[in-house]
Point group: C2
DNA sequence: ATGAAAGCGCTAACAC
DNA sequence: GTGTTAGCGCTTTCAT
């Protein structure tokens, strides 16, 4: 058996090492590095020199252990790919990072159990805050457990912020956008254009987001005195594939409609493709609108009329709430709600019915 | 001045608390929780009970300080929105998370200085590995500093993995995809279809990715004996906006071409829009191809022929390398290279020249 | 199988 | 302004 050459495994320099080299105490080094404490400029120079000399890098864990903030904020999103989440994540990330914190991101990939374990992880990390993004099924069997976890986090660790997501059963800060209002507005727009048989297509049926959007749709119908046909509400999925498949199927049925309100832009994209393939031209034969205003909306042919959701701003706001709640400076009632507005963006996918 | 009601500020339970309640020593609790150590099953039960009772959650910082792995891997990408990065990130995240590690993600938003500070942060976090994704400007004035940082990370902390990115001047593990090969292949495809005047459009000129793709384009031209016209290589940006603007300008010039090889799918999307607006039909009048095969490619009308890059797989591979290098089990030469293949995906945006 | 005790590297009183 | 000291909560020898 060959002898393993034992690598000396040079220990990383510590505060102590820096202190020794600079000829001061470790406390002084700590203060000099912390910045928020008076240290003689001569001393500071010596310390900075020693730091460079040794290639010293602070140990975040020791720092966190010894009592200062951990300096991290957790962000949990559904999926990194989906632009809906990506824009929110970008806003959060920007806000958190510019406050000198580190953003820990994880994706659930649709598994509610992963939410739980992520919160546990953040609890272990002693994160200052965690931000939960995205719609959720309030009926989920895991909901009570989630509520308990959230409470535990808020009590022990820090601020929890819900972003575009229904309450979890325990008070928290939250930032939402007006799902119902936007849905009502764009439905009214369709009605104003002369449509009465409007197909609502897609959206996981039990997801709060879907429920709110359908509610807005119904409200507009009712407000304008348009009769509601339950057959015209076909919830299901959020993807392009769903929109395509479902619309294909619908086109083979006897269901009649002159406009489609897709639960989001992806579904609209799928529906439009199916429509086109069946020789129905948008918007001449059928009008189509979406929701979210993610990049695909403007890239479609024709460009899609949709509801703009200020996703990045939503994220920034969530980030701000997270930090405000974590900072001991602001004594806010941890439970705060901000709602960001939505507005419809008119492009070329709507025309009067033929 | 009102008296501040002092909140009792209930301390979080520690290992010690659990030990006391379970009637054992903290060492035993540590072992029971660690899992990899024999503990009497009766003792274990008592401990688990106490843990639940107290709502005990381990402190990751104390754990990391006391010597075990930090259990985190850093991931640095250019932008959370860009599907190119998002797919890679998803692959990395999946791999890291399924290995029980926590993935710390940050975005540079194109600022090379943020790369440096992110590595510093990871150094502070004592991360097991960091993964740097995406093209980079090798001429950047920060390159030497980056090299130094990378070396420092590798020496002190853990594995550094480059993902789809040129070497940084010091040996590291890396996973790349064959940029040049893919570019050559799709160029040959265009040539085989009869094209000779092929416009290469977009891509930041000093970015390694662009350079490699242009190299592939040139290689194919040379291999097929097609004369190269320098005026046909117009590098610039990576966005849809760039593709649109630049193509619009080119259409107003006297430059002639029968096909466009866009540096990526976004540029292709922009170029196609400009083409369409100028009454040039794709692929009848002009053929267009892209690179990356991100979702927009298949959503375009007509669907885009492009080079498929297995982005998520790339990310997974990077994740694997990161963990392998971090694990002391595998004694690999920290510097390993894996190259994942690319292949062209034929859709409907290419036709013979008229 | 379990306990005692010594740190890990840092911050935060508390002295001077 | 700077040094001393006592932890922060855990893991890990070394005993037993």
């Amino acid at each position: 058996v060959a002898e393993v050459t034992p690598v000396p495994d040079r220990r990383r320099p510590t505060l102590e090492d820096v202190a020794r080299l600079a000829g001061v105490s470790s406390a002084t080094v700590s203060r000099a590095l912390g910045g928020n404490y008076p240290v003689a400029s001569g001393t500071r120079d010596k310390i900075e020199h020693a730091v460079r000399e040794l290639g010293y890098v602070a140990n975040a864990h020791a720092r966190a252990l010894a009592g200062s903030r951990a300096g991290t904020v957790g962000l949990l999103i559904g999926d990194l790919i989906d632009p809906f989440f990506a824009f929110i994540a970008r806003g959060v990330e920007r806000e958190i990072t510019s406050a000198g914190r580190l953003c820990l991101i994880a994706a659930t990939h649709g598994d509610p159990r992963r939410e739980l374990s992520f919160i546990d992880l953040m609890l272990e990390q002693r994160s200052e805050a965690v931000i939960l993004v995205g719609g959720a099924d309030p009926e989920s069997s895991l909901a009570p457990r989630l509520a308990r976890r959230v409470r535990s986090f808020a009590e022990n660790s820090g601020q929890l912020v819900l972003c575009g997501r229904p309450p979890v059963g325990t008070p928290t800060a939250a930032v939402r956008f007006d799902n119902e209002g936007g849905a009502a507005a764009i439905t009214e727009y369709l009605i104003a254009a002369g449509h009465e048989r409007i197909l609502f297509l897609g959206g996981p049926p039990r997801l709060s987001t879907t429920i709110d959007r359908v509610a807005g749709y119904r409200r507009a119908l009712a407000a304008r005195g348009v009769a509601e046909d339950p057959a015209l509400v076909q919830t299901g999925g959020f993807g392009l594939a769903y929109g395509y498949a479902q619309m294909t199927e619908i086109l083979q049925s006897r269901l009649t409609f002159t406009a489609v309100f897709a639960a989001n832009d992806n579904v609209a994209a799928g529906a439009m493709r199916a429509l086109t393939e069946h020789g129905r031209e948008v918007p001449r034969d059928v009008s189509v609108v979406g929701y979210d205003d993610v990049p695909v909306a403007s890239a479609l042919t024709p460009p899609l009329t949709t509801v703009h959701v200020p996703l990045e701003e939503l994220g920034r706001e969530a980030g701000r709430l997270a930090l405000a709640g974590a900072d001991p400076g602001t004594e806010d009632p941890a439970e705060r709600n901000v709602v960001v507005g939505t507005h419809i963006v008119i492009r070329d996918s709507v025309a009067p019915p033929r």
